[in-house]
Symmetry: C2
Subunit: 246 residues, 2 copies
Amino acid sequence: MSKIYVVGIGPGEYEQMTMRAANALSSCDTIVGYTVYVDLVKAHFADKEFLTTPMRKEVDRCVLAFEEAKKGKTVAMICSGDAGVYGMSGLMLEIGVDYPEVEVEVIPGVTAATGGAAVLGAPLIHDFALISLSDLLTPWEKIEKRLLLASEADFVICLYNPSSHKRKDYLQKACDLMLQHKAPETVCGLVQNIGREGETYRILTLQELRDTQVDMFTTVFVGNSMTKEINGKMVTPRGYRHGKEE
Amino acid sequence: MSKIYVVGIGPGEYEQMTMRAANALSSCDTIVGYTVYVDLVKAHFADKEFLTTPMRKEVDRCVLAFEEAKKGKTVAMICSGDAGVYGMSGLMLEIGVDYPEVEVEVIPGVTAATGGAAVLGAPLIHDFALISLSDLLTPWEKIEKRLLLASEADFVICLYNPSSHKRKDYLQKACDLMLQHKAPETVCGLVQNIGREGETYRILTLQELRDTQVDMFTTVFVGNSMTKEINGKMVTPRGYRHGKEE
């Protein structure tokens, strides 16, 4: 039986990958992915065949991977971060129905939420919600509802895809919704280029975040009512009963 | 300046760790952790000094790590999964205020949510909320509110700490709350012993989950309104506009 690994390569450079992911890439014949991610791993797996498709051609990329596997090759489909968080593993399993002779194994990786959290300090220590601001495949009303209810529930909120060329004011809109339930002084954080060259972060209040422009390489963190700034880091306590618990 | 790495070792065996995490463990003198996690890595770093403290002695464990670092040693504090998701990185940064001469670097890992998702298929492809059912440090009313609002918002919900000796009926209570907004036939998944010996999973409906007993080594996934079972795997589509998107 042919095999495809769907591999999360982590948020940035090679060493952010798990050993299991690196072993899977070593063991395969062909690595398939979006051009940018293929470039991140190419130097470490020089003996492999690489196949790339552009952004937004996800279905084509999946079919390409299955067609290679059908020829008898062991294939790795790579995704940045984790393949299962806004990644390709779902589409691969859906399209895999047409390729019963190919086995699909998903290999997890560090997603931008936990990768970015480590840069900021410890914002995700307690319950959190992950929301993408991209309305490409999700109606904006649904995103709006989630922002409101997650804020009302006092979740720490991590925002993926906070901006793009067409959606310059989405983060501002999102902040206005969160401000209906979260205080303006709520501690927030921004991380750019997680785990790769140019990695930077910034701690700011929700009110300040509202008036900040971010790019598409930024992950946004909005604290809960207990989140604090400690020595320039963003920290959410583990519990609500005590300050420091045992 | 002395250094402490706070390292997420991933959800199970050694190769679930990132290369960055393994490099940090290689470079340190002393590895500090809860006994069970230390046993998972001990064989791979035999030349290190190991210090352990029992469960629930988290503050002691942090102080131990800082006192070692103060002596000039490079220390790694290890956590299962990711150190920043219900892990030790927050407490380390809080206690670190008393040790300004020690630098703390957090190294992310694969958390049980994404590790378990990979075993089940692709349940977390779209927006999700992570909720711990442990009321040790969080009032149950707060947990209840989050379960209700996250269900109303149609998040995929991942539950940590779904059970313990003292909380045998908490998962049932949680399901009853989620059933106020989610359909009884909502696709759910259970994963036990993620990434280690004895790893198993099961797909079931929310109604069935309600009447299922799970142990403390189980992570629970509750789908959104679009989540499907495909060839025995749990899959959440990427979007709400189409079935298969491009």
